[in-house]
């Protein structure tokens, strides 16, 4: 469970991020009018990511080949890539809201996975689920500390956003 949720899916998103520079300027510009301050792109990425947070979707991706295909294409193309395009356009507030929500989500899911009496995915055992929960709690704490350190002591440059 840890491997699929917290390693494979983030790596797929990272692959999409790295693919973004391959898009031509024209394609990026076409979408930019609908992506002011990167909000639409970040929203798209978040909504698609929500699907891959559902235990049911994770199960299906292991059991059904077309769902697996959907995961391998949608995560890079609809999560990583839009994030890569939109993040630089997003201002401090948009990024801040997204990061706070992401950290809160790590804590919530971590908590949920460690206390849920039932197995949420039929492909993973309860122990696996609890392990994933603990890792998510650790990720939440680490992200919090990192962000706090960056804001309090780091070098931050805030520019006008497009």
């Amino acid at each position: 469970m840890v491997l699929q949720m917290l390693v494979q899916i983030p790596l797929l998103a990272l692959a999409g991020w790295w693919l973004a520079p391959l898009l031509t300027r024209r394609i990026v510009d076409t979408f930019s009018t609908w992506n002011r301050s990167g909000i639409s792109g970040i929203l798209l990425a978040s909504l698609v990511a929500v699907v891959w947070m559902l235990p049911r979707a994770l199960d299906a991706a292991l059991e059904t080949s077309w769902v697996a295909l959907a995961k391998f294409t949608s995560v890079p193309l609809l999560v990583g890539m839009p994030l890569a395009i939109s993040w630089p356009r997003a201002g401090f507030v948009v990024r801040g809201v997204w990061l706070v929500e992401a950290i809160a989500m790590a804590f919530r899911l971590g908590w949920l996975y460690t206390v849920s009496p039932a197995r949420l995915c039929s492909n993973y055992l309860l122990g696996d689920q609890r392990q994933t929960g603990k890792v998510m709690l650790a990720i939440g704490v680490a992200a919090c500390l990192l962000l706090a350190w960056k804001l309090v002591w780091g070098h931050n440059r805030i520019e006008r956003v497009r």
């Binding site: 201002g91 401090f92 507030v93 801040g96 809201v97 706070v100 929500e101 950290i103 809160a104 804590f107 919530r108 908590w111 949920l112 206390v115 849920s116 009496p117 039932a118 919090c144 706090a148 804001l151 309090v152 002591w153 780091g154 070098h155 931050n156 805030i158």
Partner: protein, 525 residues
């Protein structure tokens, strides 16, 4: 350094800024009066002068707790915004988004309480919200929590915008707090105290809101999927992390008014110093970890957390309080301060903060806490420094601002009567609670024994005076704010050469427009 000019140009409100500030303040004073009436109803019920049924009492208590905490945050956010915008560029949309989300959140809370009967109090302690035993449903609790989420998102937007603006000017939050000067170096005398205090609030309250975002959603999960059972102690820790921080932050937002306004009324500069920076730095850390003092009676709480709660309680409020109170007293000493409403309220707030801290520190001591915590001692201590401390800070800015519109620091005969009514009423009211605590009257009880009613009745009389004074203040402030801006400030900046800044004019014999000495005749009264 804070300006000595009574009404400096860079504070002038016009257009959207003025409308937004008026919205905040008028909404806040109306809500204060309404919530105080709710409080008075409860106090008179405890005194057995009114006969409110217990289920309605708990609805009123939920409304009063959530409503007062939210309104206090709304009012002090306006204080922070009013001064911080002079030093960094804040966006009006963020300030307004906070207001709109606050109203939407308040609507959810009001509907959940008065339409669907929610009565699990402002602390929504798990698992009470899902155990309404027929008085309220889990859905109404969900609506109440949704209201909190909306209010929290609004605050977060405002803080993020403020953080962005501060970082843009100062590079990072550490420099804004002045950490670079803690151990040496020449402190920039123009480093604004408003920036230091706002930075502390942004750091502490954002962490609190994060804790709230986690526990609120988890409580919602529990409401809709009761199979997911939460650890009640973890939930309580997170709830107090969020709730305590949220109300505590109001002091640190409100105190900005003292730093900015006091020197104008005393005519003496109020310079920034190393102890000041140290106190805010230490409090930034302490305020984040002080909340366990709400859980000293929870025997299952790890021992080290309880001990930390006690030690940090003794230290958390003290540094900022001591430095502020000492700074304020030295600022007033031999200053020839002129007593008008803003200056009176500022000094009252210092007293309320100082005196309210004493019962708070006592209650933060484990030995005392195990006897006093569930008694009326607790509402006694927090009403002390909220009513006579924080609210007085916010009111001082409101009166100052209506002074700027009327060209004179407010000091009418009615003001001079309203102030002592508020002060004396407030003291009687809080001592009613503290005396209840002394004789072990439990808090949060809809029905009181006959033997307890002496302090309830005294408290009710004090509360009536407070409500009357606040009603007067609310009308005075609303009318004052809705007046058109003073003629000199009315038009938008005229094209052409920028006027020279007006020289410091505390008591100017012939006051220049917009720069009114405190000694000028009172046109507002």
């Amino acid at each position: 350094m804070a300006s000595l000019t009574m009404y400096p140009e860079d504070e002038r409100l016009s257009g959207g800024n003025r409308a937004a500030f008026n919205l905040y303040i008028v909404t806040a004073v109306i809500l204060f009066v309404l919530m105080m009436l709710v409080g008075l109803t409860m106090r008179m019920t405890q005194a057995r002068w009114l006969d409110v049924p217990p289920d309605l009492f708990y609805e009123l208590l939920s409304m009063h707790g959530a409503g007062m905490v939210g309104t206090m945050s709304l009012a002090t956010t306006a204080v922070m915004w009013f001064f911080l915008r002079k030093y960094v560029h804040l966006h009006l949309w963020a300030f307004l988004a906070n207001y709109v989300l606050f109203l939407l959140g308040a609507l959810c809370i009001i509907v959940s309480i008065f339409v669907y009967g929610y009565g699990a109090l402002w602390t929504f302690l798990y698992p009470l919200p899902v155990h309404g035993v027929g008085m309220w449903t889990a859905d109404s609790s969900a609506l109440f929590m949704l209201g909190y989420l909306l209010i929290g998102v609004g605050s977060l937007l405002f803080y993020l915008d403020a953080a962005a603006a501060i970082i843009k000017v100062h590079g990072n939050l550490g420099r804004a707090l002045g950490l670079q000067w803690l151990f040496g170096g020449k402190i920039d005398p123009d480093h604004p105290k408003a920036v230091v205090a706002s930075t502390m609030v942004i750091i502490a309250n954002s962490l609190g809101i994060l804790a709230g975002a986690v526990v609120l959603v988890m409580s919602l999960v529990n409401i809709f999927y009761p199979q997911v059972v939460l650890n009640a102690l973890v939930a309580k820790n997170l709830i107090y992390w969020f709730g305590h921080m949220y109300i505590n932050a109001t002091i640190y937002m409100g105190v900005i008014a003292i730093y900015e306004l006091l020197p104008r009324y005393t005519g003496k500069p109020y310079p920034i110093s190393r102890p000041f920076l140290w106190s805010w730095a230490v409090s930034t850390v302490f305020v984040v970890v002080v909340f366990p003092h709400h859980l000293l009676m929870d025997f299952a709480q790890p021992r080290w957390l309880a001990i930390m709660g006690q030690i940090v309680s003794w230290g958390a409020g003290f540094p900022v309080f001591l430095v502020t109170a000492y700074g304020a007293l030295t600022n007033i000493y031999r200053s020839n301060i002129r007593w008008t409403m803003p200056s009176r309220l500022m000094i009252l707030s210092m007293f309320g903060w100082a005196a309210g801290i004493v019962p708070a520190i006592l209650d933060g001591t484990i030995r005392i806490n195990s006897v006093m915590h569930n008694t009326q001692w607790v509402p006694g201590h927090f009403h002390f420094y909220i009513l006579l401390g924080v609210l007085a800070m916010a009111l001082s800015l409101m009166f100052h601002e209506i002074g700027s519109r009327a060209h004179a620091a407010p000091d009418s005969r009615a003001d001079r009567l309203g102030f002592p009514v508020y002060l004396i009423g407030g003291l009687i009211f809080v001592f009613g609670f503290l005396d209840g605590g002394r004789v072990s009257v439990p808090r949060r009880m809809a029905e009181h024994l006959q033997a307890w009613t002496f302090s309830d009745r005294i408290g009710s009389i004090g509360a009536i005076l407070v409500v009357l004074a606040m009603l007067y203040f609310a009308i005075r402030i609303t009318v004052g704010l809705l007046k058109p801006p003073s003629p000199s400030w009315a038009p938008e900046p005229v094209p052409g050469p920028i006027p020279e800044p007006v020289p410091s004019p505390l008591v100017s014999p012939a006051p220049s427009p917009g720069v009114v000495g405190v000694g000028t005749t009172n046109a507002a009264g």
